[in-house]
């Protein structure tokens, strides 16, 4: 059969610290990670190479997270792309907006590394 290949995850966040932490956590769990500082750069990265999962913050310059999710879902090839959003705990409103934009799930920040890994495994293996 096919040898197991690493899944590639795209993390999108304007905070360098946050990107570093997500990358570190997921790489330690055996994933390949690429980064983008905003929605626009994320679109470019996705056009350039196949990613298996997108984790995105919501507040970003140039293009924010909700817009990114909607744009991705509008492209037929990306209908099957799992997208997780980072939210602050209390924000039911944002969760609902994310749901209707087409997000697959959410993670609360600041995140618990084990939790992050387990959700990622659930949505993309």
């Amino acid at each position: 059969m096919e040898p197991s290949v690493k899944k590639k995850i795209l993390t999108v966040d304007d905070s360098r610290t946050m990107r570093d932490m997500v990358s570190f956590t997921l790489r330690a769990a055996g994933y390949d990670v690429v980064e983008a500082p905003d929605g626009q750069a994320a679109m470019t990265a996705i056009a350039a190479a196949k990613v298996d999962l997108v984790i995105t913050d919501l507040n970003m310059p140039v293009m924010d997270g909700l817009t990114l999710i909607r744009k991705l879902r509008a492209i037929p090839t990306h209908r099957s792309l799992p997208i997780l959003m980072l939210t602050t705990e209390a924000d039911e409103k944002k969760k609902a907006e994310g749901r209707s934009a087409g997000a697959t799930g959410w993670i609360v920040k600041p995140f618990n590394p084990d939790k992050l890994v387990s959700v990622v495994q659930k949505v993309c293996g």
Partner: protein, 758 residues
């Protein structure tokens, strides 16, 4: 959370940058004209600081930044009006946030009550939104959950109920089989602009061209198609998704080429699915170790074109970690660019300085070797000669690379100015606007650091003495707010910084009388306007009527000029009474190494910066002219150019005086004025390491710095603009003699054959 504490330094570094961004944004906020993008940027900065703080458990910091963030949220929702009072409160909050970060950085608790006043002010501002704001109150009832399946959730994360089902369904409907080895599958989404046909482009030809590249499955999307009644036959409402399976050699460029003429106006997305490695049989054990696992597309069997992307940074998978990593102290930063994440690494400044020094020494050594080889008859040791030329080339490239590591945009200095301007304006009761341009101009780190003081003085000067009070300006028909314009640009191998104000200009009468009073100028001396303006740079000169608490005493332009000179720079001023003044600072791009031309005058050697040299000529007697009572000139390139005999200027014996027997090097200053330097010989081009004369000896007119040549001799690096000044004053004319302003050089013998360790 133990694992993540290694990112604390990254967090603090990033937060420092965010604070600077927030401060700059807050300073630009003006009540009448609020830029929402700025407000959002400030909000995001505070939001990020809060978020990171939460990750590391800095609860006081989080609590305070939450208050700050809440107010910013209201501002960006336009629920709170922007008043000067609000801006002041926010600036103060930003400062307090900086303090909280400092405490967190040192691992100590903030003193109790440290934030009370500011929090009170923030909450007071919040009250202006009429009722506590919408952000923290109970959210509007979320739309009813529409998922058929329940969400898989807990309080830390969750998956929307039907989301996974939708994803799986989408996966099944996609072409499941991977492309055969040696072929690559591309997914191309082409959404042309609707008026594509009106520029004569025909999508059908493009699709046909794609078909010629391989097997193409083309799906046409009709979702943008309007109703027939609304249809405009000349507009295009179609878009396509093409799945192209092509041979490995068909690279990304060939696909891009199909869309060559429409790419920048249409939405085109090209994705490659990298095929699996062809060799499957023996499961490669090498993939197992976690430390250096090659990511899929780095496998040697994958055709190079597969994941080629226009954008490098984000797409390339990384094997070993250059992730966050323990930040070293005082990293020079400056590596990340706004758009894509280019991978950066933080480096100790000392290491870079050592590197620059080593490269400098390498340049000297290489020059010495070249020098020795000059004595070898040509034709011998051919390979050695060629090898040495290559070495010279590599050294040059290495030097440029190393210098560019240290190059920083001047924005790091410019960004401190808005605050300075705000404070100065407040202290002097004037209204000032600061405009900047060329912030991205890059210059060596050492130069950048030395810019802060001179710029600060110049801006203070402009605001204090140059700009008039708002009332006075109004009376003159000028806008109440004065403008100070700060700009930076590269010009002929140097960086030129200008500080311009639209104030009252230099009061020449006052300057002249003060200069006479202080004995700096003879009464009755005739001076041009420009010469009078430049009097302000003389030591001991200050025309402050009152000692303003701003400019103080003794912080005069002479200090500024001295600082700039010590960097090998120059400063000049141009002023129009009633309209304003312009200070022009010119500095070398780097303080370390220079491309120069070595010339000889008598026994002495000098170096001329290559950027100043136009050409060298051997004049005929007919080209030389003497102007009565003035200087000799030479006709060169269609204009008369002042001749300067270097040996006269510097008092060098046994040098060639007749320009027709020596050489004339035509040089040019940054502002384009030219001189013809009379020299004995031109010895050749060389990279030289710049050593400061001023810090090792003292400042000399007409001399920018010194260097050590291949033979161990010290050569002075000439400053062309300085030579021009000297020649004007000493009147290096046929009448010879005259007092030369520069002290004569020390006897040559004591300098040569000595390699100074500096």
């Amino acid at each position: 959370m133990d694992d993540l504490s290694r990112f604390k330094q990254t967090y603090f570094d990033e937060s420092a940058e965010l604070l600077a961004v927030a401060e700059a944004g807050l300073l630009r906020l003006s009540p009448g004209d609020v830029d929402m993008d700025e407000v959002n940027a400030i909000f995001r900065a505070v939001h990020s600081i809060k978020g990171g703080g939460g990750a590391f458990g800095f609860s006081d910091l989080v609590a305070f930044s939450h208050e700050f963030e809440t107010v910013m949220d209201e501002v960006r929702n336009s629920a709170i009006p922007v008043t000067t009072e609000l801006v002041d409160t926010l600036i103060r909050a930003n400062d307090v946030l900086a303090q909280m970060l400092a405490y967190a950085g040192e691992g100590v608790d903030a003193p109790p009550g440290a934030t009370d006043d500011t929090v009170a002010a923030l909450r007071h501002a919040l009250a202006a939104s009429g009722g506590g704001g919408t952000a923290s109150a109970a959210p509007q009832t979320p739309p009813p959950a529409t998922s058929a399946v329940n969400d898989d959730e807990d309080d830390e994360a969750g998956i929307f109920g039907d989301a996974m089902a939708a994803i799986n369904a989408a996966r099944d409907s996609e072409a499941p089989s991977p492309p055969p080895a040696d072929r690559v599958r591309w997914t191309i989404v082409f959404r042309p602009k609707s008026d594509l046909l009106l520029s004569g482009n025909e999508p059908a030809y493009m699709l046909r061209a794609l078909r010629r590249l391989g097997d193409a499955e083309i799906v046409c999307h009709l979702d943008d198609l309007p109703k027939l009644a609304d249809l405009d036959a000349e507009l295009l409402h179609l878009s396509w998704t093409i799945t192209l399976t092509a041979d490995a050699e068909v690279g990304r460029e060939r696909i891009d080429d199909v869309f060559e003429f429409v790419a920048d106006e249409c939405d085109i997305q090209i994705t490659a699915d990298a095929p699996l490695p062809a060799v499957i049989a023996p499961p490669p054990k090498r993939d197992a170790p976690p430390n250096t696992p090659p990511a899929l597309s780095e496998s040697a069997l994958v055709p190079p074109g597969a994941t080629a992307a226009k954008t490098d940074g984000t797409a390339k998978p990384r094997g070993a970690g250059t992730n966050g990593g323990p930040g070293t102290n005082g990293g020079s930063g400056g590596g990340e660019h706004a758009g894509l994440t280019t991978h950066t690494i933080r480096v100790d400044l000392d290491k870079i300085d050592r590197l620059v020094n080593m490269v400098g020494e390498m340049v000297i050594t290489q020059a010495m070797i070249a020098e020795h080889l000059r004595d070898v008859p040509p034709g011998q040791f051919q390979e050695l000669q060629e090898g040495l030329e290559q070495l010279a080339q590599h050294t040059r490239e290495l030097r440029e690379s190393v210098m560019s590591i240290r190059a920083q945009p001047v924005s790091s200095v410019f960004s401190r100015m808005p605050r300075l301007v705000r404070e100065c304006a407040a202290l002097t009761g004037k209204e000032v606007q600061l405009a900047t341009s060329g912030e991205n101009t890059e210059v060596d780190k050492t130069v950048v650091e030395n810019l802060v003081d001179p710029l600060t003085h110049m801006i203070r000067n402009s605001i204090d003495h140059g700009l008039e009070s708002p009332d006075e300006r109004e009376r003159m028909g000028k806008p109440r707010a004065g403008t100070v314009h700060l700009s930076a640009q590269h010009r002929s191998g140097r960086i030129v910084i200008e500080v311009t104000d639209d104030g009252r200009g230099i009061n020449r009468a006052k300057v002249l009388s003060k200069a006479i009073e202080k004995g700096l100028v003879q009464p009755g001396a005739s001076m041009t306007d420009e010469e009078i303006d430049h009097l302000i740079f003389l030591p001991g000169f200050s025309t402050a009527d009152q000692v303003s608490n701003l400019s103080g005493r003794g912080v005069g332009m002479d200090v500024v000029r001295r600082n700039i000179s010590s960097l090998g720079g120059r400063i000049g001023v141009y002023s129009t009474p009633g309209e304003g003044s312009r200070f022009v600072l010119s500095l070398p791009l780097t303080l370390a190494v220079l491309d120069g031309m070595v010339i000889s005058v008598g026994e002495e050697r000098f170096v001329l910066p290559l950027t100043n040299i136009v050409e060298s000529l051997r004049p005929k007697p007919a080209d030389l002219h003497g102007l009565v009572n003035k200087c000799d000139v030479i006709m060169a390139r269609g204009e008369y150019v002042r001749l300067v005999h270097l040996h006269r200027l510097f008092g060098i014996p046994k040098a060639i005086d007749d320009a027709t027997k020596g050489l004339v090097v035509l040089v040019e200053t940054e502002d384009g004025s030219r001189l013809g330097l009379v020299v004995d010989e031109v010895l050749g081009q060389q990279q030289v390491v710049i050593k400061s004369l001023e810090s090792n000896f003292r400042r000399l007119d007409g001399v920018a710095a010194a260097t050590i040549l291949g033979d161990g001799r010290v050569a002075l690096i000439l400053d062309v603009a300085g030579l021009r000044e000297m020649s004007r004053h000493s009147g290096d004319s046929a009448s010879g003699g005259g007092r030369s302003p520069a002290p004569a050089l020390p006897a040559p013998k004591s300098e040569s054959r000595q390699r100074q360790t500096v």
